[in-house]
Subunit: 337 residues, 2 copies
Amino acid sequence: MFNFDEEHYLQLGRDAYALREKVENLADELTKKGFENLFFIASGGSLALTDTFEYIWRTKSKIPVYSEMAAEAVLKENKQLNERSLVILQSKSGDTKETVAAAKYLKEKGITTIGIVRIADSPLDQIVDYSIVEKVENFAGGDPENMVLYFLLFRMLYNNGEFPNYKKFADELENLPKALVSVRQQADKKAEEFAAKYKDEQYQLWIGSGSLWGKTYSYSMCVLEEMQWIKTKSIKAPEYFHGTLEIVEDDTCVVLLRGEDETRVICDRVENFTKQHSSKFTVFDTKDYVTEGISDEFRVIIGQLIMTGVLDRISVYLEKMRNHSLDIRRYYRVLEY
Amino acid sequence: MFNFDEEHYLQLGRDAYALREKVENLADELTKKGFENLFFIASGGSLALTDTFEYIWRTKSKIPVYSEMAAEAVLKENKQLNERSLVILQSKSGDTKETVAAAKYLKEKGITTIGIVRIADSPLDQIVDYSIVEKVENFAGGDPENMVLYFLLFRMLYNNGEFPNYKKFADELENLPKALVSVRQQADKKAEEFAAKYKDEQYQLWIGSGSLWGKTYSYSMCVLEEMQWIKTKSIKAPEYFHGTLEIVEDDTCVVLLRGEDETRVICDRVENFTKQHSSKFTVFDTKDYVTEGISDEFRVIIGQLIMTGVLDRISVYLEKMRNHSLDIRRYYRVLEY
């Protein structure tokens, strides 16, 4: 495939899977210690990545889960965030300043923190109570972070009697990197065609729901806006019908990300409406992609990664066809502000 | 003021205030009955309106609060939503189909529901356990709903020992409608100038944080998109720095809604950055508007209504200058979909 190092990707998958025992032991320790609620605290794409976990956790667990933007978490009091909370913080670089500040704030309050980072000895790695360091370099995607969160969160659900099939799931995750290479192969042609057709659209409306909302939000913001400087609106599928749909005209570029969770029927409604009113409408549906070695019962859980595979292929073609590197920024980490 | 019926607005305020005793009695009954957590379930603008209450509740109460889009709530299981929950549903028309379906779903599950509607005997009014009907017609804004929620939620906080100054607050609310007329007068000139300057912008980026996020989101979606067919992106101030800022150029129309809560310093950062990179940048700040008869300690609580006053003035000028009625829709309640 164009601009995809399969062997490198598979190696990252093996490295992430190799963390299984370590992460499961941590999950067991945390379960034993006990916690009253679970928080995800991060910024931007790292917070959006956890949205799918929050969605699924809520459908399975009696333990409340919340998420907070790091910059807000340190400023305001949240009465649910206390010394009986368990907080997961994530930052690839390990030095995202809002997230590092949040980790310090939590430490001072005596709240248990887990960090997921890619750089050992980075500020976040040093501050948190428990750190999981991935061996990942030169890879923009969040696939390894998802793997770590599967082991951590679903093991805790299992310990809590809320996900009995954990062992089967975790065993099957060994097949996931290969399945996700295959997803990229299956999606490649459609992604290339999408990029060719819409590369010059200066505004794109992206719609998603349920467990794919975080992905919809972050692809719009962190790839199209941040890396390609294309204006976007991302909107939750149910909300689309309460305002945003009015801007749709025949030449409005609209994309729907459809998954396989409970909210799929809302996406059907989005499709039925939008295909009648825009001739620039595209649906990407996780159901179109086979993931060998992963049982159907786990498809929703890995849905975000299936969609990531599809969207990653769009990104590389946009980069090439627009002659706009995914790595250049005007402001972020370029200017001080 | 142009296109503002002051006497009618004040009458609506008196009507809403007149509900105080009834709503407080309901709050007391609900407190006595007890509840494990609080849910807001609605769609679009009606859900966005409750966002500020969720924000403030979280900073004050030990009782967890959640919000759900009505269309998703009926499809997926949320383990926190159970017969010990208290659910507030809101729909001005009382017949928003997703919200009515959610009320039915909750009733079947034996979960306590409160409805806030404007039309007596509407479907939502009929289904819920407790209904609060406002005498409001021909008024698009959500000001009366806010008044009802103040009496309901802050009385429950008071009952719970979490808002000791309730009586002072509720007494002062009698002054609120007049103060909000004054806010509109104070904001009128700036609003007219804003509308004149930016009426032809086909894309606008709106930024808000904390207790004003819901307002930022709903003004973009329910007024600019739905009523004026202007494309927008709304983004939370902390998130702006993790992607969206990269699309800002000198001619990008950007608006910041700044409030007086804990997250105000994040807005300062947004302002410092954006004013250097866009020459079409506007800040609307609740602090610029005096609200006589309301103590400083309650300013954050009424912040959403101060901003509503400002934005309502923009709306009427956009309607006039763009010759585009706020009442016309292409699709919503026009087509079946």
